[in-house]
């Protein structure tokens, strides 16, 4: 089950993700999370508590980041678990989202 917690500091918002980013996270991502990020100029996605992903979930993540980037907002993904990072690397997320996305 996917959930998240937000922490706003000035123009910077940190999204603490928890649970799996998978096909079931679709509604949460598109209907709740994305509108909440509308105000922030800098968005940091903290994936420390994400242990599993699936292809649909990665699709959601890509779409979210790309939408934010289109609005010329700075996005970072941080503290990704090594196992999850392995999946990201296999799918070349750094190519799709820009090399500087992970920190």
């Amino acid at each position: 089950m996917f959930s998240y917690r937000l922490e706003l500091t000035g123009e910077e918002i940190v999204v603490y993700c928890e649970g799996d980013i998978d096909i079931d996270a679709g509604d949460t991502f598109e209907e709740e999370l994305e509108p909440e990020l509308a105000k922030a100029a800098v968005v940091i996605l903290n994936l420390e508590s994400v242990q599993f992903v699936d292809s649909s979930g990665i699709g959601l993540l890509i779409k979210l980041v790309q939408n934010l980037q289109e609005q010329e907002r700075q996005v970072w993904i941080e503290k990704t678990q090594p196992e999850v990072m392995e999946v990201f690397e296999l799918l070349q997320l750094d190519e799709i989202l820009g090399k500087s996305i992970f920190r």
Partner: protein, 710 residues
């Protein structure tokens, strides 16, 4: 002229023998004068040698200067030259002279009273002749001097001379010169070809490098000079034969090559045994025996050097009850033999079988096929089977116009008149139009012949071949990409943090969506191009293609779901892609062609060759085979994958003409007008001036080069 030698020996006889050897003469050719008989003395004390003077008789004098044969130093021989000089000779090596320098000097000093000579030389001379050191000391003469050329190379009476040292020597001294020699053995190796058909001897010949003394003129001092010569060392052929025996090689051994190889003075490879290759037979074949004699006529060579294909490009046709063709049985090959004496089988040959299709009957022996209806025989080879059917023919008398309606026919169509405005003629087989084609559309599954003009029309010939030509490279790319895609799916599925749950609902679609954005960026574009191609050829394509394109649509193109759920599903798709690719690149038995007369403001696409009999004006021709134009191509675009040959290309002041062939093709043109652009592969060139006898192609560096006269 007289030549004589004064010789000493223990006995008179010995002295004479030595003198004869020195003169190179026989006893009959000389006169002998005993100067002093030997005196053995008492208990060896005061013993004296015998001394004789031997003179060559005038008639038998050979060459007055050649008197330097080897002489043993113990012989104590004192040859006399013409003027009576006394010569002491010493052998180069291995001598153990007992007599000291002083005894020789004494001896020389004691001689003059016997010597008949009057002009006594004061200086002893030393020289090298034929590699040996020679010394001549006249009676009372001084001793000649030898210089060491290198430390420890010259040994005199067992004592070495150091570099720069010199020594006075007499004929009695033992002078030893150490000369190195270097020997390298021949290296050889016998290589047997993997197929056992040849044995090759690789040889690096051996040699012996010998140092020898360079001859000098007699002088009072001798500076030795050393030179080298290289003597090749042959291989004993027996060792080669032994090796062949050890390896059980018995067949096709060429002894003469072994002889030559063993004596080779340069490194090289020699095939010393070779088997006999099997002679290939041929598979069974099907031969059409139609009445289209015109088709069998050899193409004529025209005066300008081009080939007249017109007579060879006709449709085969056959009447009811006629024999369509026969099978030529397979002809087996002849077995060969390898160098071990084993039999090498000729490749197997296969017979071919006719499968009778529509309106075809087989003879009793099943070797001939007979037509049950008139039409065009259509042989279709599939492996070892020939599927043979008769394609019916529709004869249309007069024009095709609004009154007759369009023609769509699953066979051949022949129209005796013209095809008029906006009309369509479509046939699965061949089409022949005897009149004009005007503002119309012609689609021929096989080939097309138009005897008159094509004006403002659209012509498609051999669609299936056209389609195959275009789809093949795309399928090849798709096959490679899907193979990589399969690997990527496997990799990701194996990652520990990757959940596979959603695949049950959506298949691989979401994963594809991610991959198409990343590593497989170009795949989506390629898939879309395939979809466009399908649309273009929809009407021509058989079910297997339609099914395949549907699989692409449901497998890759839908964002939400895919019927591919695992990497193994992709494996099946790769197999089907490969099957269709093979179909697309397999050449058909009969190549399609379009033989046209004059073309203006029209588009012609042909899967095979295009022959233009008169010329074109502002036309767009595209063919997957060759284009031949007997007339001029004026304005428009012309593409022929395999190459083109034309009489004239270009248009004076009527817009540009573009001639295009693939990288391996050639453009041959009698004349190309200024402003015309040619393209070979990716390389483009525009002619600034008119040029004649042009041949354009890519060179080995992939650059466009053309020959001709501007």
């Amino acid at each position: 002229m007289e030549r004589n030698v004064i010789s000493k020996g223990k006995t008179v006889e010995q002295a004479v023998d030595r003198a004869l050897a020195l003169l190179g003469a026989k006893k009959e050719e000389v006169s002998i004068e005993v100067i002093d008989s030997e005196n053995r003395g008492f208990l060896g004390l005061n013993s004296k040698p015998a001394v004789v003077k031997v003179s060559l008789l005038a008639t038998s004098i050979p060459q007055p200067t050649t008197f330097v044969p080897p002489v043993d130093i113990h012989g104590e021989m004192i040859p006399a030259s013409l003027d009576g000089r006394v010569i002491g000779m010493t052998e180069l090596t291995g001598s153990t002279a007992n007599s000291s320098t002083s005894t020789l000097t004494e001896l020389a000093a004691g001689l003059p009273e016997h010597a008949p000579s009057k002009n006594i030389q004061e200086e002893g001379k030393i020289w090298v002749a034929e590699g040996r050191i020679c010394i001549n000391i006249p009676a009372g003469g001084s001793l000649p001097i030898i210089d060491a050329f290198k430390s420890e190379d010259v040994v005199i009476n067992g004592r070495t001379l150091l570099a720069g040292q010199s020594a006075a020597v007499s004929g009695e001294d033992s002078i030893e010169v150490k000369l190195d020699s270097e020997t390298k053995d021949a290296i050889w190796q016998l290589d047997i070809a993997k197929d056992g058909m040849t044995a090759t001897l690789k040889i690096e010949p051996g040699y012996c490098i010998v140092n020898y003394l360079v001859d000098t003129e007699p002088d009072t001092r001798l500076m030795l000079r050393v030179a080298q010569k290289k003597i090749p060392a042959a291989i004993d052929p027996e060792v080669i034969y032994q090796q062949l025996t050890d390896l059980n090689i018995i067949f096709g051994i060429d002894q003469s090559v072994i002889e030559v190889a063993c004596r080779a003075d340069k490194a090289g490879s020699f095939v010393i045994a070779s088997g006999r290759a099997p002679i290939h037979g041929h598979d069974g074949m099907f031969e059409l025996k139609t009445n289209d004699t015109a088709r069998k006529v050899q193409p004529k060579l025209r005066e300008n050097g081009t080939i007249d294909y017109r007579e060879t490009r006709e449709f085969p046709s056959i009447l009811e009850g006629e024999m369509i063709g026969t099978i030529i049985p397979a002809y087996p090959g002849t077995d060969g033999i390898d160098i071990y004496g084993n039999r090498v089988q000729a490749p197997a040959v296969h017979d071919i079988q006719i499968v009778p299709g529509k309106d075809v009957m087989l003879s009793e022996d099943k070797l001939s096929a007979i037509a049950l209806k008139s039409g065009m025989p259509s042989p279709n080879k599939q492996g070892r089977l020939i599927k043979l059917s008769i394609i019916p023919k529709l004869m249309h008398n007069g024009d095709v116009d609004l009154a007759t309606g369009n023609i769509h026919f699953q066979g051949d169509v022949e129209i005796s008149g013209a095809v008029q405005d906006t009309m369509q003629v479509e046939a699965e087989g061949n089409i022949r139009v005897r009149g004009n084609v005007n503002m119309a559309q012609i689609t021929a599954g096989n080939s097309l012949i138009v005897h008159a003009n094509i004006l403002s029309s659209k012509v498609v010939v051999g669609q299936l071949q056209l389609f195959h030509g275009q789809v093949a490279p795309m399928l090849m790319y798709l096959r490679e990409q899907t193979e990589l895609l399969k690997k990527a799916v496997r990799q990701v599925s194996g990652a520990s943090a990757f959940k596979l749950n959603d695949m049950n609902q959506t298949g691989l679609a979401p994963l594809f969506q991610v991959l198409f954005q990343g590593r497989f960026k170009w795949m989506m574009e390629q898939l879309q191009r395939l979809m466009t191609l399908e649309e273009q050829y929809q009407s021509t394509l058989k079910e297997e293609w339609t099914r395949y394109f549907n699989e692409i649509r449901t497998g890759f193109m839908h964002k939400e779901s895919s019927h591919f759920r695992t990497a193994e599903d992709l494996e099946g798709f790769i197999r089907r892609t490969n099957y269709l690719y093979t179909m697309a690149v397999t050449p058909t038995l009969e190549r399609n062609f379009a033989r046209l007369h004059y073309i203006q403001s029209s588009t012609v696409r042909c899967g095979g060759d295009i022959i233009v009999e008169k010329g074109t004006y502002n036309a767009h021709l595209h063919c997957e085979g060759r284009l031949e134009a007997i007339g001029a191509l004026r304005g428009g675009t012309y593409y022929a994958a395999e190459g083109m040959i034309l009489q004239e290309g270009g248009s004076p002041g009527t817009g540009s003409t573009r001639l295009h062939v693939d990288a391996k093709g050639k453009i041959k043109a009698g004349k190309i007008l200024a402003g015309t652009t040619i393209q070979v592969g990716e390389r483009i060139y525009q002619f600034a001036e008119d040029a004649e006898h042009v041949i354009a192609q890519l060179d080995e560096n992939n650059q466009l080069v053309w020959k001709g006269r501007e």
